[in-house]
Structures are given as structure tokens and as C-alpha cells.
Symmetry: C2
Subunit: 374 residues, 2 copies
């Protein structure tokens, strides 16, 4: 007997200008002394001052750049404590939102962050109170604004650790496409491929049954097929940017079911080569889907129908090309000598355990080798 | 500027045997003295005693039959007060779940139920505390187990009143297909068509934009297309019954966007002819969709693709036929002299205000006349 659980609790407000709801939401959630968590890139954007004002922040931590590491969390936590904050506004991409969630965990839980990470020996549960987080994403990819996890790397090894709990879901997400129109094409493409990877992998995952997530994943894929190329070609197209913000959150809402082997490859590429997560997913997805195809024929047909293509793997390859995502790993700086370590990290990564087709060490070797030669 | 809000908070547990989670859920929500609300038909089912035991109910109200009216709510509220209950278990179809929700409102709100109904002069808000409801549906149609409204009729006039608030959502829904295998084919067909109507109308509604709901509606329609006929032909098929339970909840999750004119027709048929809500939707849906088609060509194509048919309206008509739903209203006991009142009630009903094609009085006249002649 399998009994499956599903719900989508985050309150989402979507539309140009949604950021202006921030003061009302802070009031509603009883946040009087917000910590604003952001990153260096966002702090240089024209909208940053407006958001600083709207948040009425008692403290700001905006020192992030690249993949977030544990020391970022500790620095932000210090700002939280110094200003006696009572809630968090996360403004940025997945890095800022994940750091905000990690600070929220440590605000009410003793000890080191990674004591709460998935799969560590003696893992502690997130059982205490977690202060409210309001997320304003500035990219359309990770969907962390509705996700249940914070992905933070170790400072030294760059190994990614995942803290997971439904309590990590932000109380509200304000999706304002005006915050994404300034994203450079390369970031738009890479984060967009991250969303596409979430949508595809959650739909075919061997994880828990969840028909709401299936529907959300397919509809998100329809939006991405309609609008991702347009976001790169016409960066100021608000309708396309809005579609991609929705596609991103839908990917994250859907992947509560589970993900797959593309993510294990991408986690390895980030750990070993410090590659951007979305770019890594974007390069690997068609290789992994070609590998999965024999066991997912029916679901691949449904996805092809939704994106309006004859066949899914070919569509993904074409999408990469039109977005300027490299066909293979060599152009992204990966070399043959990285292979053994990439394979080691991917094999150890938990995501592929829910891949619809079991992935053995020799399969990862073949996948990375193909992607390196392409 | 439009800013749209969406979330799906109800915790759903789905699978054969999900009912056995009830004691754990009651404990989790702090319910020690549950009121069990059910209906006469369910009280005669073999599983009723098991659920009575699992709920450890301090009080039982199981006097419902047919569409629920205000006096049912007052009788159940008396049982709630006499036993000093602190939470509600709703076991049944939409009637039992809606009465449970209405009792939950009155438990923490003064005055008459309909003071909180949509659109009444001086409508009061559901601003106070609402005790937790755990829903165990025994039909697959209304989806009230995840819905935000309670539909209760006036005792005398049978006019349907809708109490709406996100606070009315049950805290948890336990979807156990074993509770539906005993449903007679006629009820399976009528409640199933109710779910189909929710899925179709919410997808095309002119109501708020919500891409998660769009995806949920389409996926629910896929499940219904796959399994509704099978539930009628093979009543003990648990997989098909499970698909329809999901389709029903997905219909209700999706219609937070809004519904359309089929529902206004059905509300009129219930009010004027005391017709079962699902049967009324089932009879009217293809007539209303033929009317809507000119303004929804793209969405109709997507839905036809999802159900695997050439064209949506023809598919709906064929589905009705194969389920034993009457083609038109005459076979369901409606007569020509009912027409003026049907039109009056439908025009006054709020649902059609979100129909994708505006529906004037003469349109309702034409729809009912066509359905009566068919």
C-alpha cells in the first residue's frame, strides 16, 4: 500500500509590480525587522534601492556571488542576530533565496548548518520554529521561492549539501517579471534551462506519485517552450519573462516528487568544475534524456506533444543550440582529467536514485564521456 | 497591472488505505473530540463502523440526504455544541463535506450562516477562527475536500448559497479509493461528470490567471478521460477509482480560478428541479461548450489533445452517452414550463460571470431550450 502526500502551500503573487505588495506581506506575517538577503549583482541593479525601501530592512546582507557556501550563511546569520531581526526578505536568484532559508533554519536551531543536511551521519531534524521568508526572485530558474530545500556548498570542498524541510518553504513569493528584464542573455539561458530540467526530470522521476505535480510540470514545460527563446532574443518582453518566472516556480513545485540523473551530473560539475548549476543542467539534459528514453516512451510522447515537437530529445538539443548553451562539456571548460572525479561525485549524489532508469557508474562514465566529446 | 495569487495548501494523502491515517492526523491537528459528519447512505456502508472507530468521534451527525440545506447545518452545529467538539471529520460526498465546513464557520462566528454567503447584502467576512476539518470523500466529483467553499441551500426556496473563504479548506484530505468502490454506477457517472465539468470550466474560465491550475486541470482531464468510463464499467477497479478521486480533487483545486455557465445552468436545475448537481452539469456541459467554442479554439484544441480526441464537444457528448447520462433535460424530468424560472435563476447565478463567452438571458434561453429538445 502506497499512500502519497501532496500540497502546494506557498502563497504566490505574480505580475508586473508584484514587488509592491512587500510591505503589506511583511505586516501580515508580523515582520517588523527584516533581514534583506541579496547578492552583489542584484545590489547593483536599479531596482535594489526601491526594494530596500519597500522592505524597511533592519539589516542587509548582500555579499553573495556565485554558488553560496556555508560562510555566507554564517555572515548573514550574524547580521540577523546583530539587528535582532524577525523575518527575512530574499531578493535574488537561488543563491540569495537558499541563504535566506539557511539563516531561517539557524535562527531557531542550534549548532552547525550541515548537521541538518540530508544524509549526514546523525542528521538533526528541522523541528524548531523557522521565521518567515518572503522571496522575490530576480532570475527564472531555480524556483527556490516555492521549494523545500536550501542548497549550500562546503567552503573548502565545494561539495553541495541539501537542507530539506517543508518548513523551508517561503511564506510568500512575489514574482515580478520587471525584476528579471535586466538579466544578461547568458544567465537567462542557463537559469531557463535549469527550470526546463526541473520540469522534465520531475515529470518522469521514479519518485512519489503526484498527479498535481505532473500537471504543473507539463504546463510549465508548455510555458518554457513558448517563451524561453523569446526571453533571450527580446530581454524586455514582460510576457515572456512572466512565463519563465511561472515555469521556474512550477518546476520547483513539481520536483517535490523527485528529480533525476541530470541533476546528479550537474551537482558533480558544480562541485568539480564550479560550473553554474543551470548551465550544467542545460548541457547535460539531452544526453541524460537520450539515456532515459527507452524506459519513458509514453511520457516522452506526452512532453513532445506539449512542447509542439516531434520528439523530446531532439527538441532539447535544438533548444540548447538556439539559446547559445554549449552542445558539450569541452566548450564549458571541462577536461578529460576531470572525468574520474565527476563520476565519483555523480554516483554519490542522491538525485539519480529517483531517475526513471537506474544509473550505474559505467552509465555516468558514458554520459560524461559523450558530453565531453560532443 | 494584474497581480495574481495562487496556492494549494490542503495536505492530501492518496492511496488505498489512506483512511487509516485518520487517528494520526487528528492527533497532529490537536483534535480530541471530533464531530463526525456523514450522510444516511454512507452510514449504511460497511466501512462506516471502521471510520467511526478511527475517528473516535465524540458526536455523530449522519442525517444528510440529497442537497444539504441550512437546517442540516444547524442540527450538526447542535451536535457540535452538545459534545463540546474541537474538530470535524467529514465522511461522504460534497454534501457531508460542505455541511462540515459550514459547521466549522459557525463554530467560531456569530449569527446566521447565510450572513457569510457570497453576495448577500451586508455580507460578513469569515474573519474568526475556523476549527480544523479532515475530509474523507466517498465520491469522486465535487472535490470539496480541497475546495474553499461550502454550498448550502435555503430550506424553503432551495436557492443555493455559497460561503467562500480560504479558511474553509480542510486541513487534510484522505483520499482512499476503497471508500468509493461501492458507489452505484449512476452516482459514479454523475459525480464523475461533475469533476469533468470543474476541470473543463476552470481551464477556460475568464477568471484569474493561474498556470498551476491550468496544468492541474489538464492533467485531471487526462485522468478522467482514462478512467471515468472504467469506474462505471468495472466499479471495483481501484486504479480507475483512484484516478477519478484525483481528477475530482484536481477539478476543485483548479476552480479557485473560477468556473462558467455550465455551473449556472446546474445551479438553476438544482434549485428549480432539485436535480443532482453532477447530473445537471453532465447534461448541460456539451451544450455550453458548443456555445463557448468560438471564443476558446486554442484551449479546446489543447483539451482535445489531452483526452485523445479529435474535438472536445463531440468527445463530451460521447462520454455522456457511454456513461448513461441523458442526452437532454427531458429524460431527467425537466418540462417546458420550468424554462422561465431556470433562466431567471441561471442569469442571477454568479458563476457565468467568469464564462469565457458572455452569457445573456437569451443565450440561457437558447441553451436550456436546446437541452430540453435534445
Amino acid at each position: 500500500m502506497a499512500v502519497h502526500r501532496y500540497n502546494f502551500p506557498t502563497e504566490i503573487h505574480f505580475g508586473p509590480g508584484a514587488r509592491k505588495l512587500l510591505p503589506a506581506k511583511l505586516k501580515e506575517f508580523g515582520i517588523r525587522r527584516a533581514l534583506l538577503v541579496s547578492d552583489k549583482g542584484v545590489a547593483g541593479q536599479p531596482f535594489f534601492d526601491e526594494l530596500l525601501r519597500l522592505s524597511g530592512a533592519a539589516a542587509v546582507y548582500a555579499e553573495l556571488s556565485g554558488n553560496p557556501v556555508e560562510s555566507h550563511v554564517h555572515a548573514a546569520l550574524e547580521a540577523w542576530r546583530d539587528a535582532a531581526c524577525d523575518g527575512i526578505v530574499a531578493l535574488g536568484g537561488g543563491a540569495a533565496i537558499d541563504v535566506a532559508k539557511a539563516v531561517a533554519v539557524l535562527a531557531g536551531h542550534k549548532g552547525c548548518l550541515f548537521a541538518y543536511a540530508e544524509g549526514v551521519p546523525g542528521q538533526k531534524p528541522v523541528s524548531g520554529p523557522v521565521p518567515p521568508v518572503v522571496a522575490l526572485p530576480t532570475t527564472a530558474g531555480t524556483g527556490s521561492e516555492v521549494g523545500r530545500s536550501a542548497v549550500i556548498s562546503e567552503d573548502g570542498s565545494h561539495v553541495k549539501r541539501i537542507v530539506f524541510s517543508p518548513k523551508l518553504m517561503p511564506r510568500a513569493a512575489l514574482l515580478d517579471p520587471e525584476l528579471t528584464v535586466g538579466l544578461p542573455p547568458g544567465v537567462t539561458a542557463a537559469t531557463g534551462m535549469d527550470a526546463v530540467t526541473h520540469l522534465v526530470e520531475s515529470y518522469i522521476t521514479a519518485g512519489d506519485y503526484n498527479p498535481l505535480c505532473d500537471g504543473v510540470a507539463l504546463e510549465g514545460l508548455r510555458l518554457a517552450a513558448r517563451s524561453l527563446k523569446r526571453c533571450v532574443a527580446k530581454p524586455r518582453d514582460l510576457a515572456a519573462r512572466g512565463d519563465m518566472m511561472n515555469a521556474a516556480l512550477m518546476g520547483a513545485a513539481a520536483f517535490q516528487k523527485g528529480l533525476g540523473a541530470t541533476h546528479s551530473c550537474a551537482h558533480a560539475l558544480s562541485t568539480v568544475c564550479d560550473m553554474h548549476h543551470g548551465l550544467a543542467n542545460g548541457i547535460m539534459i539531452d544526453f541524460v534524456m537520450a539515456f532515459n528514453k527507452p524506459v519513458c516512451r509514453e511520457k516522452f510522447k506526452v512532453m513532445a506533444q506539449v512542447v509542439g515537437a516531434k520528439e523530446l530529445v531532439g527538441w532539447l538539443t535544438g533548444l540548447k543550440r538556439s539559446l547559445g548553451i554549449p552542445r558539450g562539456l569541452a566548450k564549458a571548460g571541462v577536461r578529460k582529467e576531470h572525468l574520474p572525479r565527476l563520476v565519483d561525485v555523480a554516483v554519490a549524489d542522491p538525485c539519480h536514485q529517483l531517475n526513471p532508469r537506474p544509473v550505474r557508474r559505467k552509465d555516468f562514465e558514458a554520459l560524461f564521456s559523450k558530453a565531453l566529446r560532443a
